[in-house]
Symmetry: C2
Subunit: 398 residues, 2 copies
């Protein structure tokens, strides 16, 4: 949220939802720049600050917005009141990165059923020791979902910087189309591979809580995207591929000449995972009758140096030949619930890429996703041809 103008515009949206006969509960974020300002204060006060005190300082940003939105709604003639996180959101876990445990909602239920719009600061609750606890940066989405689940809402609308979930990144494919519906699983795969719309944690929580989400623009009044457990109505007939995800921040590591015996893959991947380095797209192929094999995998490019150093340290223990890496790679994925039942979709993907002379450096697949690692300078081309081949371009949809 930016300044008071933004709060007024949110209030107008809330009024319309309420006017539609709904009980409305609003979870708000801090105004633009506020959280950064508060985090900066903490850094200046004490570089190694106590997370419980950090929570006290940083949680104030959303509290301010909650009070301001409640009074703005009142000035429009609506009944509204703010609730603080400590009044109803029980959280547990680590300060600065807590989880919502339960919503104490007697007063809240009473307010809602009495026609009062409830406004709640996102991103915070009260910890087991009775203190303010924040849910981690960007936690507003997650607390909105948790609160929606806690009060058994029919739906949780999330107003964001984007106006919905697209078939792919519109900066790469201008013909990208906004999806009406996407399943939780598809959304998780799309988010996980680069479509930065919602926090992955909030989508996972909504999926477990079976809480339908709607992603809407906080700026423009246009239809958004529903994120649901099962596609419904016309959407069931939609294209089997929901979208094409592109992820540039990848690096490939190949460990050459790994002894072909049980446990060597674990001996390499295990220490990386323990150091907090996420490893993806693992391909392990033995060369028959040589007793030796190569192990290829990807890591986020930002931690490549760290990952290489960790594997160098294993050279004696694992006895591999040598190590090569490539940080000019990218990952392109097709995502869709249709993949589960139709193995030909993966084959189509490989055909389309081959036609354009795009070489596959590695491949991985899950029930609803197939990913290919390719040269980074071919990523935009790959996304465009796949988007078109799977019938996702706007003209074809219309």
């Amino acid at each position: 949220m930016a300044g008071i103008e933004r709060i007024r515009s949110v209030a107008a949206r809330v009024r319309r939802e309420f006017g539609g006969g709904n009980e409305v509960l609003v979870v708000v974020s801090a105004m633009a720049g506020e959280t950064d300002r508060l985090v900066q204060y903490c850094r200046e006060a004490a570089p190694l600050h106590d997370p419980t005190e950090y929570d006290v300082v940083v949680a104030s940003g959303e509290q301010v917005t909650a009070g301001l939105l409640a009074m703005t709604l009142q000035s429009m003639g609506l009944k509204a009141r703010s609730f603080m996180g400590w009044q109803l959101v029980r959280a547990s876990g680590i300060h600065g990165n807590a989880r919502v445990e339960a919503i104490e909602n007697a007063t809240l239920d009473e307010a809602l059923s009495g026609g009062t719009i409830a406004v709640i600061p996102g991103f915070q609750g009260v910890s087991e020791d009775g203190r303010v606890a924040t849910l981690g940066r960007g936690g507003s989405d997650t607390s909105a979902v948790a609160i929606a689940a806690g009060v058994k809402a029919d739906r949780c609308d999330i107003y964001t910087d984007v106006d919905g979930v697209y078939t792919t990144d519109p900066r790469i494919v201008p013909k990208a189309r906004k999806l009406n519906q996407v399943t939780f699983e598809e959304m998780l795969e799309l988010a996980g591979v680069g479509a930065k719309v919602l926090q992955v944690r909030s989508v996972g929580l909504a999926m477990r809580a079976k809480m339908p989400l709607r992603v809407l623009s906080a700026f423009e009044d246009v239809p958004g995207t529903d994120i649901v457990a099962e596609l419904s109505g016309a959407e069931m007939e939609r294209n089997q591929i929901a979208g094409i995800a592109a992820d540039r921040g990848e690096a490939r590591i190949t460990v050459i000449g790994v002894p072909d015996q049980p446990g060597t893959v674990a001996a390499i991947i295990g220490p990386l995972a323990k150091s907090g380095i996420p490893v993806d797209m693992i391909v392990h192929a033995a060369t028959p009758d040589t007793g030796s094999s190569d192990l290829t995998f990807t890591v986020p490019r930002a931690v490549l140096a760290q990952a290489l150093a960790a594997i160098e340290a294993l050279k004696d223990a694992v006895a591999y030949d040598r190590l090569v890496s490539d940080d000019k790679v990218a990952k392109v994925s097709i995502v869709g619930v249709g993949i589960r039942s139709n193995p030909e979709l993966a084959a189509t993907m490989f055909d389309v890429l081959a036609e354009r002379q795009i070489n596959l450096l590695a491949v991985s697949s899950s029930e609803i996703k197939v990913s290919a690692l390719i040269a980074e300078d071919q990523l935009d081309l790959a996304v465009r041809v796949l988007h078109s081949a799977f019938g996702l371009d706007q003209e074809q949809a219309a």
Copy 2:
């Protein structure tokens, strides 16, 4: 409090108090400009805002300082934690202007006796309905005193913009001297007539709670002034007059030809008081055998027009002749516990003013104060000659 630098300087002062073997509890205000910024947000969001939502927004300023001071103290190697107003300050009364009712201090006592410095946001508590309640603008002083009383502190130190209580305004009399001690009653009279050091309400509360106060500079490390129930030690021998108060913001109203019968004074003063206009220095003198009298009093200059309009409205009911007013008047007062036992002090005051040809427009007195209304352009002269005559000038004290 200004930025992080100010918080560091406060932390250094707190460390010294703690190092002196004291249990220390700190009540903090918002950083410089913060409260104004938050109040401005409320005005922009809704000109007629709900005081409960106003409280939510404005209370956040002190919460931020509390967290930041706690983490700064920790970074100095001290044990410290913040408590929020809602965790221990029970308040009652009107939102935006609540009163401290009690301090729930089990956890607080435990922290203090365990050597932890407690940091508490001033100006706020939790209301009977479980919501954030602020104690009114400038309420940090008052909440500090209430919290000090609630935890039975030995003393409450208040760090302010000034470094103590002076015998008079040093801008008028450069020889004004800082008092080592002043009684609560003297402080109330000095504060009430213009020495803007502490909120009147905080001094009244300290007097009732028998909580000794110390006023100190928040900027300079110099001795301050103790505010106590009874003067002690060498101070008992000090001058009988503690100080000279000067108040410029006065206006005089004279209602001429008021019928000399019971109830007419009340008929005029009553409606003013009901409109929230404070009336001071009431002088009612009947002209013998005429059946008529004049009524003179003062009001703050800022509400003179409002007061005159209110009295105009009473013309038919009260049947007075006419109304005159003068907004070029000021009030000079001598304040001291010595006045109680020494009526000659008032006579000395009148002599000194008469010698300088300063005309007395009205006079009022209480047990520890004598005030004279004079022409505004004679105020500085009056303060200087009284300050000198009562032996308050710095040289004479040394």
